[in-house]
């Protein structure tokens, strides 16, 4: 049977675009984090896993293990902040950071325990999931990467890999060995140009497109977005005009965690996510990011869509070679990049 059969090709394309949209979101997060902090963020996929599994735990009426994780991270970050403030002799800042941590942590604990019971509407659980997963981004940055902000890209990568392994282990401890599936946000099918598509996959494509549009507006129109872009272009120059690199890094990680958690919520209904599912999903986003050279947002998004499409076509024609085809894609891209782009030192500051 031919892949270009009119009854086959549109289905494969729609399927590839659905997955590609999620990969594109992840590749944008990877590019963003790398451009601002020079961290190749290996654990991006773990946010996907945490997002999907936290919602699944809430669905089962349980208090997800991610709550304790956020609180523990908050505690470590507060200790770090207090130590830094006291060293600088700023008692008021130390006191404030403890106050914020107690208020924020207490509120999160209270809200989660109040809403974790069965019977809460789905959209409340979705918001609660975001509330539990998104703060992990800036907190992990504060605890793991901010103390390393002057380290080389290699050291940052090593820390990133270590964090990925730690988060995978935590996923196993929090959610168990077997995966979970979350309920679909949209049931049923739609007919578009003679092809039957599930509403869920249309939702995935739609939300991804909206999110990308939102990011584009954020970077183009808001002060915070412009500050992030400035940091990405030239860290030293950004600092000279008053942009704190810590604040920029923290914001980049917040966005990365938000994008990861949303991606998890989007693909959660179509497949069972397990504690170890995050890495391969993140890796496919990474290939997209590499196609964009880790600097270009549009190229990364297009690259990730390409990964989704190639994956879909390859799974039809040569399913046993699918992973080989998808991951070999990176070789010609790297070759072309190394030949076409001018070399520049990684430590130019």
């Amino acid at each position: 049977m031919d892949i270009f059969d009119p009854s086959i090709f549109p289905i494969l394309t729609a399927d590839g675009l659905t997955n590609g949209a999620v990969y594109a979101l992840l590749s944008l997060a990877l590019v963003l984090v790398f451009a601002v902090t020079r961290v190749i963020f290996v654990p991006q996929g773990e946010f996907v896993m945490f997002g999907a599994l936290t919602l699944a735990a809430l669905q089962q009426g349980k208090v997800p293990g991610t709550l304790n994780f956020v609180l523990a991270l908050l505690l470590i970050a507060t200790v770090l902040n207090v130590v830094r403030a006291l060293r600088a002799g700023d008692r008021r800042a130390a006191g404030l950071s403890v106050l914020w941590a107690v208020l924020g942590g207490g509120a999160l604990w209270g809200i989660t325990h109040a809403l974790a019971g069965a019977g809460t509407p789905l959209w409340v659980q979705v918001l609660l999931t975001l509330l539990l997963v998104v703060p992990q981004g800036p907190l992990l940055y504060r605890v793991v990467f901010e103390p390393l902000r002057n380290a080389t890209v290699l050291v940052l990568l090593i820390a990133s890999v270590a964090l990925h392994l730690a988060l995978t282990g935590l996923g196993l401890a929090f959610f168990g060995a077997e995966g979970s599936r979350t309920p679909a946000f949209a049931q049923g099918n739609a007919q578009i140009a003679g092809v039957t598509l599930s509403l869920q996959s249309l939702l995935v494509i739609g939300v991804s497109a909206l999110l990308m549009l939102g990011l584009a507006l954020f970077f183009g129109r808001t002060l915070a977005g412009k500050a992030l872009r400035a940091t990405a272009v030239n860290r030293l120059g950004a600092r000279l005009v008053g942009i704190r690199p810590e604040a920029a890094g923290s914001l980049a990680f917040t966005l990365a965690a938000l994008i990861g958690a949303l991606s998890g919520l989007l693909i959660g209904p179509s497949i069972a996510i397990g504690y170890d599912s995050g890495f391969l999903i993140g890796l496919k986003g990474f290939i997209g990011a590499i196609i964009g050279g880790l600097v270009s947002f549009p190229a990364a998004a297009v690259g990730a869509l390409l990964v989704g499409l190639i994956e879909s076509y390859a799974s039809f024609s040569l399913s046993q070679w699918k992973e080989v085809i998808v991951f070999t894609l990176i070789l010609p891209v790297l070759l072309w990049r190394s030949l076409s782009s001018r070399h520049h030192d990684e430590e130019e500051e």
């Binding site: 049977m1 399927d15 060995a177 995966g179 693909i267 879909s312 024609s317 046993q320 699918k322 992973e323």
Partner: protein, 378 residues
Amino acid sequence: MKRLLLTAVLACTATALADVRVGVIVSGTGPAASLGIPERNTVALLPQTIAGQKVVYTILDDASDTTAAVTAARKLVQENKVDLIIGTTTTPASLAMIDVAAESKTPMISLAASESIIKPVDARRSWVFKTPQTDALMAAAIAAHMASTGIKTVGYIGFNDAYGEGWLAELQKAAATRGLKIVATERYARTDTSVTGQVLKVVAARPDAVLIGASGVPAVLPQKALKDRGYAGKIYQTHGVANADFLRVGGKDVEGAILPAGPVLVADQLPATNPNRKVGLSYVNLYEGKYGQGSVSTFGAHLWDAGLILQKAVPQALKKAKPGTPEFRSALRDAIEGTRNVIGAHGIFNYSSSDHLGLDARSRVMVQVVNGTWKLLK
């Protein structure tokens, strides 16, 4: 973790006495964790004394990794001086542990599926036994069920790893003997976010039935995709999905799936005359009493069966030698090989010098997912 520490402490304090020492290696973390965790949980249910002799269990985690399993086996043999190794969960790691068992002349009961662990019984494998049914045994049951319900053509979609390839090989053998034709073979990865491409191709080949060669909750994905594409034929799964998580995640999507499984999965539906019913029920009650309603899976029962075999073999070995000596280990091996008619949760074990699996057709039943539970097919 606490239990691991406790076991370690117990092992240290008990070294002065000549207790029977059993080393257990399971995959408590890593890809095989969903199998390894119920196995580890089952150790706590095993008897603390056999024939008046105290039994000390030391549990190690191999993280589903072959190298870690071999290291753990050497540690058990050299530092803990165990008389028997039970484990490990996965086939590749169990194969690698055979050398440790043979070198140190320590009997070993593997909890992994593949026939290559115990066949052929050569000088090295003479120390190695196993309790789970082989893929060959289960594939034969599937092929027999297909043939008896008038199925002529079969499609296959399975994992692109050792599990899926092993099942494909066994299906091809079993199908050849039953005159079934395999019309499509497709692979997917357990972390794939979609199998639409593969399923389109399987459906296009119009098979009477499809076998999904996958384990755990990732096995839900192809069955859901087949239904989404309007496939109306029979869908078979392997015994790798026989746990509660598969039903929980699969929900309506896995309704109607047919699979072979150990009798313990449907112990309460077995006729009263079935010898496995009583053993299976007592294991289920023990396990659920400790870990909660619905927590039991068939994987832990493989370790339970190893424990039953041990309880039969230790008294005989004690007559010949003292625990902790090479003579005891040798006597224990002979006693295990002499196992006759030990009724386990998964079947009836009859080991011999040429058969270290010891199971026959009584070790499997065909079940179907009906209304979200396992139903025994008559």
